[in-house]
Symmetry: C2
Subunit: 357 residues, 2 copies
């Protein structure tokens, strides 16, 4: 048990192989030509001593830690695990580790994490920020983010989900069209009074989705009634409350779109609790297509968002910026697609998603 072994370093290898330490370094990194004979000797010594490079020391020297940080509002919220997984997979393929941080929606924590990260010489940050674009200090924060740097070099920062600024790279989803599609689906069903349970409008994501809803109504010349719009906070519980409130308003709604699946599902519970039928009385749509959407009864029609793509793409963007800090910033916009289930179509097949959870 627990014995202190003296660590074997590059110089031990050098000694055993009877070469200089730089030669060892060179064969290990392939940074310079080394004769086959020495190469052989070195590798043998490495094997024999069971030598492993010290990445901390290498990091100090090279300024690269091969670690990126991923900061998200929540680790447990169903949207993020698949995203984290895809980031991890992409990162590992390139030899990077990921440091995960959940901010619980606290901008305070977010900033604290970023600050610490700078000291850690992290190679890059993938950030799904929980900061409020309408905040008065927004400009300052954006400025801060876009000039982040450790060790004198800028830290590549990729925004996830919301494009904070044109000075920052981002992978986003076409939320506007996503919610427009969902709403139009409801319209195509002949629904006349369509409520909207909004995602917080202080975030750009929330704004875009709301715009999608409004646009759909406008395009189809349907009246816009502010009474039909109510704002939740992403959680199923808030969706539940919002729907209860909407029902109380007595507007005889016959459909509801929601800013995410969680709120849609919460709303469904409220509808069911009120003794109403879905979709008979009220049809419901969500957004994101997280796995619970297929599990609830009735299953939820929603907009499928390619979370796997997002992670992969975000990591690629990170690599791109790492290799070319001066490259012009891009906002990569991914598209969602409508998935019809029984919350809008009673005849839809209701297969449970039996794979991803």
């Amino acid at each position: 048990m627990a014995k202190k072994t003296k660590p074997v370093g590059i110089k031990d290898v050098a000694k055993l192989a009877n070469v200089s330490i730089s030669t060892v370094s060179n064969v290990l990194n392939g940074s310079k030509m080394v004769s086959a004979g020495l190469q052989e000797r070195v590798m043998q010594a490495v094997d024999e001593l069971n030598y492993e490079v010290n990445l901390v020391a290498r990091g100090l020297k090279s300024g690269k830690t091969n670690t990126i940080a991923v900061i998200v509002p929540s680790i447990t919220s169903v949207f993020f695990p698949p995203l984290l997984k895809s980031i991890q997979d992409a990162a590992n393929r390139e030899g990077y580790s990921i440091n995960v941080f959940g901010t619980s929606g606290s901008l305070e924590k977010e900033k604290k994490y970023i600050q610490t990260l700078k000291s850690q010489w992290i190679d890059g940050i993938l950030l799904s920020s929980c900061f409020d674009t309408s905040d008065s200090s927004a400009g300052k924060y954006i400025e801060y983010l876009s000039t982040l740097n450790t060790n004198g070099t800028p830290i590549p920062l990729i925004c996830l989900e919301s494009a904070i600024s044109s000075n920052l790279d981002a992978v986003i989803v076409d939320d506007m069209n996503g919610l427009k599609t969902a709403t139009e689906h409801l319209i195509s069903l002949g629904r006349k009074t369509i409520a909207y349970i909004a995602a917080p409008s202080s975030f750009s994501m929330g704004k875009s989705r709301r715009d999608g809803y409004l646009t759909a109504l406008a395009v189809h010349q349907m009246p816009i009634n502010p009474q039909l719009i109510i704002e939740g906070d992403y959680t199923p519980a808030s969706g539940y409350q919002c729907m209860k409130e909407l029902l109380k308003r007595g507007l005889s709604i016959d459909a509801a779109a929601a800013g995410n699946d969680q709120m849609a599902i919460g709303a469904m519970r409220a509808i069911l609790d009120a003794g109403l039928e879905i979709p008979g009385d009220i049809a419901v749509t969500g957004y994101n297509d997280n796995f619970p959407a297929s599990l609830v009864q009735p299953s939820l029609t929603t907009i499928h968002v390619p979370k796997e793509d997002m992670g992969k793409t975000a990591f690629e963007l990170f690599l791109r910026r790492l290799n070319d800090p001066e490259a012009s910033h891009i906002h990569l916009c991914l598209n969602g697609s409508l998935v019809v289930r029984s919350s809008t179509d009673p005849d839809a097949k209701t297969d449970w998603n039996l794979q991803d959870w």
Copy 2:
């Protein structure tokens, strides 16, 4: 944009404050008494220059990186996100970051990650291993794990979920009693032919749960029929297949316990698809109490496992071993508790979990 600023180091602070660098280090770390006057001067210089310690350099010197690795079979499987969250929270409170690794159930990857971790001078590892205790090389792997070390010092390793060896610390759940409780619940309902959809028995977890099922039957003098036992692979899809197979065997089962919630839910789908009723024809229990258990229709009776406690406790165990490498190894066993829902009791309230996802 992207300007290269020269990093400010401890010597810059020293110069500005007109003291030696060791004095700066001393005030920053409180490692030695420094006169109030100098302390003041140093802090002022730190502020002025916006100095931040370089954790990589400190790491190289001190051998501590303040980062722990968490290795789990899956990031997306519903059981793990809450666990990861609780670990993260506990770790952050103590100034640690967590590096997350999902192995996709591949022991190969697991080993590779651990190997890399050694080079990274990680301070500790929390591991939910996917290794097969019945494997012939089991002994070697355990030996390997219990002698892990970086930089000549042992790396604290805490096992999550399954206690791999008495030479290793672990936070586990009383799976035996958990499944015994679930099975006895079914028995108390008067069910006579209780099937068991097992978790892989090559893992200690799977063995304990199966033992729980068998023990319950034995205690109540019920016959044990191997035909009633079938093994899945944790996924809902496997639960679905297992139940289809069970149904095909024509044993007229009137209840089924499963080794986890996912398989239970998959099995429910198969039962429903076969035109049978739950719990009328077949009552079903799961294990873990992940949030989907409350969402499906009917909602799933299951054993609640305290994932939050697990994470917190695991981190505490890590700290304990870090501070006392020679401490005797402990296996901390947490208890689950029965949560009755409508898959066994039609009158149970079926509130959806509207909080944790």
